[in-house]
Structure formats: C-alpha cells, structure tokens
C-alpha cells in the first residue's frame, strides 16, 4: 500500500503536521478550565429562555443579515458566472473570496461604521465571488447539445433560460440553499465585530457570565439551522427576501466624510502620505513584512497544517456515525445530531468559547477548526459511504471499516480535505482577531492603532496566501485524481 500516491501524500501531510506541532504553542492557561466548561454545559442543559426580547432580536437580525447578504451575493454571483470566461472576472472573484467576511466587515466598519450596509456587504461580496465560481462550474457541466440545436434567432436570453439555466436549476437551488446555511453562520459571527447579530449577544452574555443565556442562544441557533429545510420553502423565499432588508435594524448613520477620508488618506501608506517618497515606502514595507507579516504567515501556516491533519483524522473517525454500513437507525440519528451540532457551530464561535475556557494559545483554535471542519467532512463522507453497495458477505466492524469502506472512500476524502484546506487557512487567519498570533491578530492590532494602511497590506497578504494554497490544493487534487481515476473507479 505504500506505493499508492494518496497514502504517500497523506503520510507527508501527517509528518509535516507533527513537525509543526513542535513549533506551536499549546497550553491551557486558565485557572480552572473544567469548572468553566462545566458551567457552560450546565447553561446548555438548563438554558435561560426568559430573556425573550433580546433572544428574538438576536435571531431576527441574524436571519435578516443572512438573507440580504446571501440574496445579494447570489444575484451578483449569477451575473458574474455568465461572464466567468473572462480572466478579469475570474481573477477578481478569486481575490474577493480569498478575503474572509470578517475582514470585509472590519474594512467597511472603518467608513460605513455600524450601518447595516457594513454587515450586508461583508457577506455579499465574498459570497458573490464564491457563487460566481460554483455557478460557472455548474453551467459548464450542463449538456451543451440543447443550445446547439436551438433554431436560429432564438435570442440569447431565451436560449440561456431554456437550455443551460433550466438544466442547471436544481443544482443551483441545491447549492444556494447550502450557502444560505453558511450565510447564517457568517451572519452570526459578524456579531463579534459589532453587527447586531447572534455573536454580539453571545459575546456580551459571556462577558457577564450569563451561561444560561449563552445556552439558550446556542440551542436556538442549532434549531434554526437544523429546521432550515422546514421553513425555507421555495414559495416563501420571495417573502423572506422582501422582508429581510426592513429587519436589519437602523444601526448608526453613515458619515460620508469618513468614506472619502478612508480612501484618500487612511489607506494611503504612511510614508507616501507624509511625502517620504518611494525610499521611505520601501523601508516601511520591509519593516511591516519583517515584524508583522512574516510572524503572522508563519503562525498561520503552522496552525493550518496542524488543524488540517486533525480535521482529517476526526472526519475519518466520525463518518461511520452516520454510515448505514456501521450504524442502525437509532445510532444513525444520534450520529446525525452530533454532526449537525459540530458543523453548525462556526469555527470562530467555537474558538471564542474555548478561548474563554482555556485561555489564549493555539489549542482552542486547533480544536475549534478540527471540530467544525471535521464535522462537515464526516457528514459528506458518511453520505458518500451510504452510496456504496457492499457485497452480501462483507465483513463487519473493524474489518469492514478498514478493508471494505475506507479504501473506497479515501480518494473522495482527500479531495474534500484539500477543498477545505483553503477554507481552514482563511479561518485560521481570522481567528487571530481573538488573540492568537496569526495574520488576523496583526490586522486587528493595526486597526486598533488606526493604521489602516498597514491593515490593508496585511489583508492583501492574507488573500494572496489563501489564493496560493487554493492553487496548490487544486494541483494536488488534479495529480491525485489522475491516479485516482486509474485506480479507484471500477
């Protein structure tokens, strides 16, 4: 089995993660971490639903921002997808989606302030980039034959609607509804930077030690996501989309002078602003790279590689929970609930909670990333394994896991993991805002010091890093899939 390329690649990643672990900083620094965890668990067991008005508002705002942001993103993304063959559109989309929602929010906060537009754009812009890419891929997979046989003079729009769009429709709806779930998570997390969504209330409940309210907020959020399919119906969707913009809250008014100042002064690198010329700019940039960007990149890479491998291990351990080859009906239901909770909790929120419990180090970040992403991959892998038909005399238990199922799902597993690589790195960078020294930490510090020029350069570096990992992951996938096609497909 050692000659297989997939196995060798996996071992390489594991070895790299072990090396990274030697350089990483893992510790629990709080006085009594388990007592805190116990109090949080009690909060989940005995939630306090009595703070009704603020719970209601938290959920309503979370929903409103998600619907407006995802709706806008999907609309713009659809238009961009139609022009996706242009290099400019492709590059632009890759760039906007390489910047995390929270970074977008931090940027918009500087000039729109706490206006709802900040939250809406923070979701809509990166989502438009993602939608454009995925919609374009879906269009590419439709059968081109129907549009070739259309009568001449059918018109571009009608041709598109009758051929590509109608073929792609179910896939578009499917993907968009999945993204709505992601949008709800993004919207909740925007509360941590001041938007009036779930994260905002969660942070203040934590600060006041109100674990009952924390429990209530989390449980309501899980219920909201778990029941998504029940209340998001195609017929109700227009109603939600129309109502959502009016439910964003008023926030604070936009001060337009801030907007112009931001673009003409704040983001202009300090040496250029002060007339120190190109030489001064070079020194400034070099200093920024050496003292902030490099340590930030180093820590981001360390954390990403460790989290990636633990995510993968967790997913491989957990997917049997929902696989019909291993569990019965009751076990399967419990497994589903476990995985729903794991993947519905945004990494940022999990990391925030664990940081409160364990104190600052890389440990909360790694655990949060692994739990969330491991839950997602385990879910997808479990579904994939359910499509397998095993022979009637297939072995049971460990033998079945090791010989029958794992070798068959390992290729798809690696593809999924590499796909999440970039997402894990994007999240790792953002977790810096919580105080772990990844790139987000330096971005956040620069903003606190009102040095937006530095913040912007660091955000650009983060985006380039993400694009780099995405390219690398795609290369690896392509290389392994070549082998994969030869070996794995019957």
């Amino acid at each position: 089995m050692w000659q297989s390329a997939t196995v060798r690649t996996s071992l390489g990643f594991i070895a790299l993660a072990i090396v990274c672990a030697f350089f990483a900083d893992f510790q629990i620094s709080t006085h009594d971490p388990w007592q805190e965890l116990g109090r949080l668990m009690m909060g989940l067991v005995i939630p306090d639903f009595l703070a009704v008005d603020f719970l209601g508002e938290a959920l309503l705002r979370t929903l409103a921002f998600a619907f407006v942001g995802v709706g806008l993103g999907a609309f713009v993304g659809l238009l961009l997808a139609l022009a996706f063959h242009s290099t400019w559109v492709r590059t632009g989309c890759a760039f906007v989606r390489a910047i995390h929602e929270l970074f977008w929010a931090l940027i918009f906060l500087q000039f729109f302030g706490l206006h709802p537009l900040t939250g809406v754009l923070a979701i809509a812009i990166p989502y438009a980039g993602i939608f454009a890419k995925v919609y374009a891929e879906i269009f590419d997979e439709t059968d081109p034959q129907p549009s070739r046989v259309l009568p001449q003079g059918s018109g571009r729009a009608a041709g598109l609607a009758f051929t590509r769009l109608s073929q792609a429709w179910p896939h578009l709806v499917n993907y968009t509804s999945y993204r709505l779930e992601c949008g709800l998570r993004s919207s909740a997390v925007l509360g941590f930077v001041g938007m009036p969504t779930l994260g905002y209330y969660l942070e203040s409940a934590f600060a006041q030690g109100l674990y009952g309210s924390v429990g209530a907020l989390l449980i309501l959020f899980y219920v909201l996501i778990a029941t998504l399919r029940l209340w998001v119906r195609p017929r109700l969707l227009p109603f939600y989309l129309l109502a959502a913009p009016f439910l964003l809250g008023s926030g604070l008014p936009i001060v337009w002078s801030n907007v112009s100042r931001f673009f003409t002064q704040d983001i202009v690198p300090a040496p250029l602003r002060n007339g120190e010329g190109i030489g001064g700019f070079g020194a400034w940039l070099l200093d920024l790279l050496a003292t902030q960007a490099l340590p930030g990149i180093w820590n981001t890479l360390l954390l990403t590689q460790i989290a990636l491998v633990i995510t993968g291990a967790l997913a491989m351990v957990l997917f049997p929970l929902i696989s019909r080859h291993f569990t019965g009906r009751v076990g399967g239901t419990l497994g589903h609930i476990t995985l729903v909770v794991m993947r519905s909790t945004p990494e940022y929120l999990l990391a925030f909670i664990l940081l409160q419990l364990w104190g600052p180090s890389m440990l909360p970040a790694v655990v949060a990333l692994a739990l969330h992403n491991g839950g997602i991959i385990a879910h997808l892998l479990g579904q994939r394994s359910n499509q397998l038909t095993l022979r009637q005399d297939a072995p049971h238990g460990l033998d079945r896991y090791v010989y029958e199922v794992t070798p068959r799902v390992y290729g798809p597993f690696l593809a999924l993991l590499f796909y999440r690589w970039e997402i894990i790195m994007r999240e790792t960078a953002i977790l810096g805002i919580l105080g772990i020294a990844t790139l987000g930490f330096y971005v956040d510090s620069a903003i606190q010091e009102i040095r937006f020029d530095r913040a912007l350069v660091l955000i650009l570096i983060t985006a380039l890093l993400n694009i780099g990992v995405d390219v690398l992951a795609r290369r690896l996938r392509a290389r392994l899939r070549l082998r994969h096609n030869v070996n794995c497909e019957p």
Binding site: Q3, Q392, G397, L398, R408, C488
Partner: protein
C-alpha cells in the same frame, strides 16, 4: 453435513415478485449450474441461497465481483480470510502483509496466472484479471459451499476452463450461474434452468446436450 434445501423460496422487489415460489435440494458434493437468459432470476436465486444458508458460511462470488479497487490483488484475496484472523492481525496486514499469508496466496495466484499482478491495485486490472482475483478470493475463503455468479463471463478459451477447474476442485459443493452452456455441461453434474423466476428444467448434465437448453433462451 445435511443436504441443502430451499422450500417455497420467493424474492420480491417492492411489490413485484421476481422469483419463486420455488423449491430446490442440493446434494452434498454436487456441482450445479444455473442457466437461463439474463433477467430470468439466476442472480436473485443465488442471493436467496446465500441468505438462506448463511450459517454454513458459503463463499460468494457476485457478478460485480465486490472487489475493492484501491487495494492490491493480494489484499483483495486476503479479504476472503478476514474472519479467520483477529482484528489487529488484519490491521497489520493492511500495512505490511505477513510472510505466511503471502506464501499461501502467491501460489494460488500463480495457478490462476496473475501472480505478477500480486501488488497491483485491482483498479488497474483488466476485466478478465479482476474476475480471476475474485475467484482467487473465493478459493482463499475456503469452506464447503461456493455460490458464484457468472464466474468466467469475462474469460474465454483455456483461461475459462482453467478457472472452472480451480473453482470446482476447491469446492465440493457449488452453485454456478453460467451463460456458456458448453462449459456448464462440462464442469457440472446437474443443470437447473431458470425461466421467469421459476425452475423450468432440472436434469443431470450427462443427459443433456447444448441443444436441450436452447428453449430456455
């Protein structure tokens, strides 16, 4: 061991009955060929037999072979013996096979002319090679009873005969679904013809000619 018997066996897909009711008794030491046109119910009958006689641990060779494409030929054959070993032994074998297993499996592969592919992933083999791997797995499993569905459909000439010999000598009792009537008559003692999910013919092979089986198709 007693004779193997099916009594009023039926099989249904949803509400549609695809097999039976039919009754059939196999004598120990008998090699039986199931013949009939495709869709007649041969595969379903084999699957019903497997469920019925599960406690006798029959070796199964399904039509789609049930091999794991990412694992090597050795490991796929070894899987026939998974239940004979402990969990940790199987885990170690996955990473590094034990010499004693290699010494058993390699000669078997040599007999079937695929020893050179021992460490190749099954996904890289041709259809005929895969079929021989599946047969090797069934032979490695061992036992008294073999249930094989079209075991030589992807082979022809001497290779098909070689494999039929290997399977019938490895198992004293066997039920083989066959579409090659000549081979069926030569390698089995008894022919059961299936048509529309029921037994349309049941005769000792030596009393039949290929001509007699034509009405089944």
């Amino acid at each position: 061991m007693n004779a193997l018997a099916l009594r009023d066996a039926v099989a249904e897909y949803g509400t549609i009955r695809v097999l039976g009711p039919l009754s059939l008794t196999l004598a120990i030491g008998e090699h039986v060929a199931l013949v009939g046109k495709s869709g007649a119910g041969k595969s379903t009958l084999l699957s019903v037999m497997f469920d019925h006689w599960r406690d006798r641990h029959p070796a199964l060779m399904p039509q789609d072979l049930g091999l794991v494409p990412t694992l090597s030929v050795f490991h796929n054959v070894y899987m026939g013996g998974l239940s004979r070993r402990r969990g940790w032994y199987n885990l170690v074998t996955l990473v590094r096979p034990f010499g004693r297993d290699v010494r058993v499996i390699l000669p078997l592969l040599e007999r079937l002319d695929i020893a050179d592919k021992c460490w190749t992933p099954v996904g890289e083999l041709s259809g005929g090679e895969r079929q021989r791997v599946a047969a090797a797995r069934a032979i490695h499993q061992g036992g008294d009873l073999l249930l094989a569905d079209e075991p030589v459909s992807a082979l022809d000439g001497p290779l098909a005969e070689q494999l039929m010999t290997a399977l019938t000598t490895a198992y004293p009792t066997a039920v083989l679904a066959m579409h090659d009537v000549e081979l069926a008559l030569r390698f089995t003692d008894r022919v059961v013809g299936i048509a529309d999910g029921c037994i349309a013919l049941d005769e000792p092979s030596h009393r039949l000619t290929a001509q007699d089986l034509l009405p089944l198709y």
